[in-house]
Symmetry: C2
Subunit: 232 residues, 2 copies
DNA sequence: CCGCGCATTTGACTCGGATCAAGGCGCGCG
DNA sequence: CGCGCGCCTTGATCCGAGTCAAATGCGCGG
């Protein structure tokens, strides 16, 4: 494995570029109740802006209202592994330590509710239901990451992609059509592949009649069963 | 990727073989308090016996007293991904659903405390500290699995192995020497490699003077810094 | 102490996906 | 409506790890 220096450089530039122009626009509309029963603050980010970075103090837990968020870890030479994409309704930023163990960025322009960790854990201490919900959320994330490990460790490129498409299809309710909110590079870094392999495999699936790609960001699921079988 | 049929067969035989002879010996010594504040039952398993299987109802949460446990997911054709090894003191069996999402087996003969999920969640509902501890355990597991994803998705064989050795060295307190409780196959399935690659990479590290292998199961860390750098 | 079985190592070769390198083209902007 | 910039696709080649096969040797039982 060689240094992906150019990529790394590009990414660094991108991040630094955005980091300055604090785009987290606290909407004056102010606080709205989070589903965890704690008042939260609504915030917005624009595409590719950093929400929090690895190593920063973890002050909040977030719920996506609109848009998509990615969390990831990155190596010194730029190799990146996206741990998860968070879609509307999903919760991210739950970390074991007082410091974030991963970075989070907006995949698309997005709107998020942030809840202070302190308030949350305070409430959880006294309210069993909140504690239970927090645990359930974390366990759900753990379930997903165990499946993700199986995919990263043991599946082929086409199996990975098929699983990804089926997973997205499940999470975004739309019959036999998936609107991908993220780039090919994001998909590659989520599935442990390169952008070229993702592209080629997409093309292959299309040539095989399994999917159709009317647009780069749209996928029509033509043979769901084939995808299911591939996704195993 | 071809079917690893022979391997799969071997594993299936192994599992079925052991499954019958119910070896979970409830020790009459009976219940001893778990650290989660709930009375648990002490149980023992022998090497390679199944503790629970994917799809079985998840009745208990476990803490290892002695020995080592592996949890894993397996594909129809035998490809296996070990999610985690659990060493003495560590807790496993925490799952989001009422059904186990992974299988667990004894890596070595081992002794475990089992706590009923019902009792645990009951206590968690009323006792904030217990709920907090449960959450902390789960978050810790999530932290580890995010790192594991980075390793599986983006690291080379020698980086994976170096990380594994450093991680084991940290978890088993013993200066510059690691006693590996698991086989090469287990290591391979944990790191998303084949047994041959694990073996070759070990040999390479030894030839480079980074480690020493007095026994198959023993590793002497000769150049800790080199390993650290590799593990990144 | 010897022989046997099995985990592990080693060797030769293959191959899936990575890398390196051009194009193509959709989308936004003027 | 045309132009240009990035994203994406496609092509050629390479290489790290997988596969297949065989030898080694450790640990255990007799």
């Amino acid at each position: 494995m060689h240094l992906q220096s150019s990529l790394a450089a590009t990414r660094t530039i991108l991040r630094d570029d955005f980091k300055g122009r604090s785009a987290l626009t606290d909407q004056a509309s102010g606080s709205s109740a989070d589903h965890l029963g704690v008042a939260g603050v609504r915030m917005t980010w624009r595409r590719n802006e950093e929400i929090f970075g690895e190593g920063e103090p973890a002050t909040c837990v977030y719920r996506v209202l609109k848009g998509v968020v990615r969390t990831y870890r990155i190596l010194a030479d730029g190799r990146r592994q996206i741990a998860e994409f968070f879609l509307p309704g999903e919760v991210f930023g739950l970390h074991a330590r007082a410091v974030h163990q991963a970075s989070a960025e907006a995949v698309t322009d997005c709107e998020v509710v942030a809840v202070r960790r302190g308030q949350l854990s305070e409430r959880a201490m006294t309210d069993g239901a909140t504690a239970h919900k927090l645990l359930a959320l974390t366990l759900h994330q753990l379930l997903r990451s165990e499946e993700h490990m199986l995919i990263l460790g043991r599946k082929t490129a086409s199996e990975r992609l098929a699983w990804f498409l089926m997973d997205m299809a499940e999470r975004i309710p739309a019959p036999n059509r998936v609107e991908l909110p993220m780039s090919r590079q994001d998909i590659a870094d989520y599935l442990g592949l390169t952008i070229e392999t993702v592209s080629r495999t997409m093309t292959q699936l299309q040539d095989d009649g399994v999917i159709e790609l009317p647009t780069r960001r749209q996928v029509v699921l033509r043979e769901r069963q084939t995808l299911m079988d591939l996704a195993a």
